[in-house]
């Protein structure tokens, strides 16, 4: 396959960036999208040019490090797929592909396709945990959890923290990310005790970091590589209202 790429190039956080044209040759359908970029980068290095910087690590769709917008869609055209798990058989020979970083006010660009997502860590720091110390906890089977609840908690807990939901949202909202953690913990008996306080501090932290609010576009759900549902945003809202009334 031969492809034409338009890739966002930006030297640093304070520099301006632009789309740069690159040709990719000898690409095979078995390559992942990142392996295609590896080929382009090898070529750039051999020509004495700077390779394209992009975040990646596990390359199996779970670490949440990769963060590219492909043809306008965070993580590209395939549903429930991270960039590293997107394979070139999803593209046609001769295609033109636009590659940009995740864009949001809360995610400043560091270089090329790499953005700073530490704002998400700070939302978790605000209260995305159960306040338990190591040791001194009861036997694991002391508190039973209905299978349905454990499954629902797991549906929410699958979030990989990539930030695609933010990049997809017209408001740059981190509501799905925050809702996933709030719902995961609030669904379990162990997490119920701090649920009211948690939802308040995490929501506050989200706003402080410059993320927008939810406008019910549902773009986040469409972009989420783990298929996390917007019903959790409804759960977050419910938890938030309950906390306000309490």
């Amino acid at each position: 396959m031969d492809l034409t790429l338009f890739v966002w190039r930006q030297k640093g956080p304070d520099e301006s960036g632009q789309l740069e044209r690159h040709e990719a040759h000898g690409i095979t359908k078995d390559m992942s999208f990142l392996e295609m970029l590896d080929v382009v980068n090898e070529d750039l290095i051999k020509k004495g040019k700077e390779p394209i910087a992009f975040d990646h690590d596990c390359r199996e769709g779970i670490c949440g490090m990769c963060s590219q917008v492909i043809n306008g869609l965070p993580h590209g055209p395939r549903e429930k797929t991270t960039v590293c798990q997107l394979h070139m058989r999803n593209f046609k020979d001769g295609a033109t592909i636009y590659i940009e970083p995740f864009r949001s006010r809360a995610f400043p660009v560091i270089k090329d396709l790499i953005v700073d997502r530490t704002a998400l860590d700070r939302i978790i720091q605000a209260g995305g945990y159960i306040s338990v110390h190591t040791g001194g906890v009861p036997d694991a089977n002391t508190i039973l959890i209905p299978k349905e609840d454990a499954d629902t908690a797991m549906d929410a807990a699958e979030c990989i923290g990539c930030g695609a939901c933010v990049a997809a949202c017209p408001n740059g909202s981190a509501m799905l990310f925050t809702a996933a953690k709030v719902s995961h913990l609030a669904t379990l008996p162990q997490g119920r005790i701090e649920a009211a306080q948690r939802v308040c501090v995490m929501t506050e932290a989200m706003l402080q970091e410059g993320f927008g609010n939810c406008g019910n576009h549902y773009e986040c759900q469409a972009a989420c590589p783990k298929g996390i549902k917007v019903k959790f945003i409804a759960k977050l809202n419910r938890e938030f209202i309950k906390a306000q009334l309490a």
Binding site: D57, R117, S131, H133, K147
Partner: protein, 636 residues
């Protein structure tokens, strides 16, 4: 001769005894000590969080953009613990024995017993943190089976157990960041260990965003920097996983133990071409319900579902009737390699066998199987374009885990006082082969329940804040590190870093991989130095050091692999026996199984760096078995 300092006395009382002996640091004094924790995978995050909870000041470093991304996140199948909830005969002793036997009698009894003892507490802790483990309809925790065991002791969260455990440790860590006891240093790479008066007192790092190289001092250092399977270029490890932190500690005097003990995982998606950057594991848990087979007649090109039952060779079930498809990893990998070497493999190049879940799908239904392994089937489909519900997966072994690592004593302290090594980065618990679902157990045992106790014993005897980054040792380390970086940037040769890595990987896979011989090892030892010389003359690292430069990061890691590869081959050559993942073709039984030599090799080989270009010195720690009988491992 080196001493692992295992406590005397009955096996089951050793850890309690040691805990009684360990000195404590009072709560008022804890806040005066500073501890560096490098790496934020399961071992690093759990240790940093727990040390923070105890009141120490912790600096937590990782090269990723967030501590939520350590490679432990990729672990799929589960975590072992001896709770005996299924009432199928599990016990602390049985987990201990399975692990010792699984490791082919090359690990320390005392360490492994302690691991089994604390395993239950890990599950309790994780449930309290809110980890949504799989449950049955009555609300109790569910278990599954894993290789090398005949009981069901594996706890799991769908096919993402590692992710859930890591996010649990990460949330505990974030809580401590909030509390002010832990400071995070993401996108920071450790490049050197700083030793002052023989003790570990700090590290030199590179800020991966600004390129700044700087030093951090502390009262103790914990390395939780994972394994070195990426030495093979293609492995199941994350792209950033490397030997660098451990290797640079080795160059500063820390002993490296059993570097040749590497694990090749039997069920990974086969290589599809030269462009490949990593290999993807298909969890061992699939072997609970899956059956491994190849066509009986070689070169049978029919699609798998057209091959009748009578013409299939379920070779694991045939060779190992007692354990069948749940034979341990090293044994299964070699069996798959044998079948493919004899021309019985399937798929491109004959490098693959079928992992078939169709019987289970028929019996339990697609939905139930989807619930257990859905994410794995999806992953397989994305990578290969094939639907595993309709046709069996093709799998082939791939480098996955490294049992070798920095040498540590019973307290997980290396031979350098103040340097503790946790998780995959140390060598301690898995001997010559790790059992599935045991790495998550070991990392969390080290981080939550062992080092928080043992590190206090070291600190109690050390004045806090003894050194600051103004000490001349830091200046020297800084200068050396900057020197290496500058050198890499000025070579400006013709070959890319990846190119060298790929070539090294091929050399290691062919000669120091699943089957090793005196001849192949000597061959590797002959080629590696030449490749290393070429690297330092002809590598091209574009850009500068004063910016985010991913090629420079990679170049440093590959440079270390090029040195470490030689140590690994040397260790493999010196160990004239086959055990676990280390298979020397000269040492095998008539039916092709590993043949141990307990008379001459029942020891840990700990290597000491003696200077560039010099032979490393071998130190031996004899392995003494007081409680188990050394036997030939049999899974038949």
């Amino acid at each position: 001769m080196i001493d692992g300092k295992c406590p005397a006395g009955p096996l089951s009382e050793k850890w309690d005894k040691r805990k009684q002996e360990l000195r404590l640091v009072s709560p008022a004094n804890k806040r005066k000590y500073r501890i560096i924790v490098v790496g934020a995978g399961l071992a690093g995050a759990s240790a940093a969080a727990t040390l923070g909870e105890l009141g120490y000041n912790v600096d937590s470093f990782c090269f990723q953009d967030s501590p939520r991304r350590g490679h432990a996140i990729s672990a799929q199948g589960g975590i072992n613990a001896t709770r005996n909830y299924p009432n199928d005969g599990d016990s602390i002793y049985r987990l201990f024995y399975d692990t010792i036997k699984g490791g082919d009698f090359r690990s320390r009894e005392a360490n492994v017993y302690r691991l089994a003892q604390v395993s239950g507490s890990i599950i309790d802790q994780c449930v309290a943190q809110g980890i949504p483990f799989a449950r049955d309809y009555a609300g109790y925790l569910d278990n599954r089976s894993f290789g090398g065991a005949q009981v069901s002791r594996t706890f799991y969260a769908r096919g993402q157990t590692g992710q859930q455990l890591l996010l649990g440790a990460y949330s505990a860590l974030m809580r401590q960041v909030r509390a002010g006891s832990v400071k995070l240093w993401p996108r920071t790479d450790m490049l050197d260990l700083v030793i002052v008066d023989g003790e570990a007192k700090g590290i030199t790092v590179r800020d991966l965003v600004t390129g700044q190289i700087r030093c951090h001092s502390a009262d103790a250092v914990c390395l939780c920097t994972g394994g070195y399977a990426n030495l093979f270029h293609l492995s199941t490890n994350s792209m950033g996983s490397s030997v660098t932190a451990a290797y640079r500690a080795y160059k500063k005097g820390a002993f490296f133990a059993n570097p040749c003990f590497t694990q090749i995982h039997p069920t990974c998606i086969p290589v599809s071409g030269d462009h490949q950057s990593k290999l993807t594991l298909m969890s061992e848990s699939l072997r609970n319900d899956g059956r491994v087979w190849t066509p009986m007649s070689k070169g049978d090109n029919r699609p798998p579902y057209e091959i009748p039952e009578s013409e299939r060779d379920y070779f694991l079930e045939r060779r190992y009737p007692a354990y069948g498809n749940l034979a341990p990893r090293d044994v299964s990998s070699r069996a798959i390699k044998d079948v493919c070497d004899e021309g019985g493999g399937v798929g491109p190049g004959g490098r693959g066998v079928y992992l078939d879940l169709s019987d289970a799908i028929k019996k339990l239904g697609k939905e139930k199987i989807g619930e257990r392994y859905g994410n794995l089937f999806e992953m397989y489909e994305r990578i290969t374009g094939e639907n595993a519900y309709k046709q069996p997966m093709r799998v082939y072994p791939a480098p996955h885990y490294t049992m070798g690592g920095l040498w540590v004593d019973y307290d997980l302290q290396s031979n350098i006082p103040g340097l503790f090594v946790l998780g995959e980065a140390n060598f301690s618990d898995h001997g010559a082969n790790r059992l599935g679902a045991s790495s998550l157990m070991q990392t969390l045992a080290d981080g939550y329940f062992i080092v928080p106790y043992t590190i206090a014993d070291y600190l109690a005897n050390t004045a806090y804040g003894k050194v600051s980054p103004e000490h001349p040792e830091f200046a020297r380390s800084l200068q050396d590190t900057e020197g290496v970086t500058k050198r890499l940037l000025t070579i400006n040769g013709r070959r890319t870093v990846n190119d060298f890595h790929r070539e090294l990987g091929r050399i290691m896979w062919d000669n120091v991989g699943m089957a090793r011989s005196k001849e192949s090892l000597n061959k590797a030892l002959g080629i590696i130095p030449a490749l290393r010389t070429e690297f330092w003359e002809d590598v091209r690292v574009p850009g500068s050091g004063a910016e985010l430069n991913q090629e420079l990061e990679k170049a440093g890691r590959v440079a270390d692999f090029l040195e470490f590869a030689e140590l690994m081959a040397q260790d493999a050559l010196h160990r004239g026996e086959s055990c676990g993942g280390h298979f020397r073709v000269e040492h095998q039984t008539p039916d092709g199984e590993a043949k141990r030599n307990d008379l001459n090799f029942c020891y840990v080989a700990a290597w000491e760096f003696k200077g560039a270009g010099k032979e490393p010195a071998l130190h031996k720690e004899p392995l003494i078995f007081e409680n188990v009988q050394l036997s030939t491992r049999s899974y038949k």
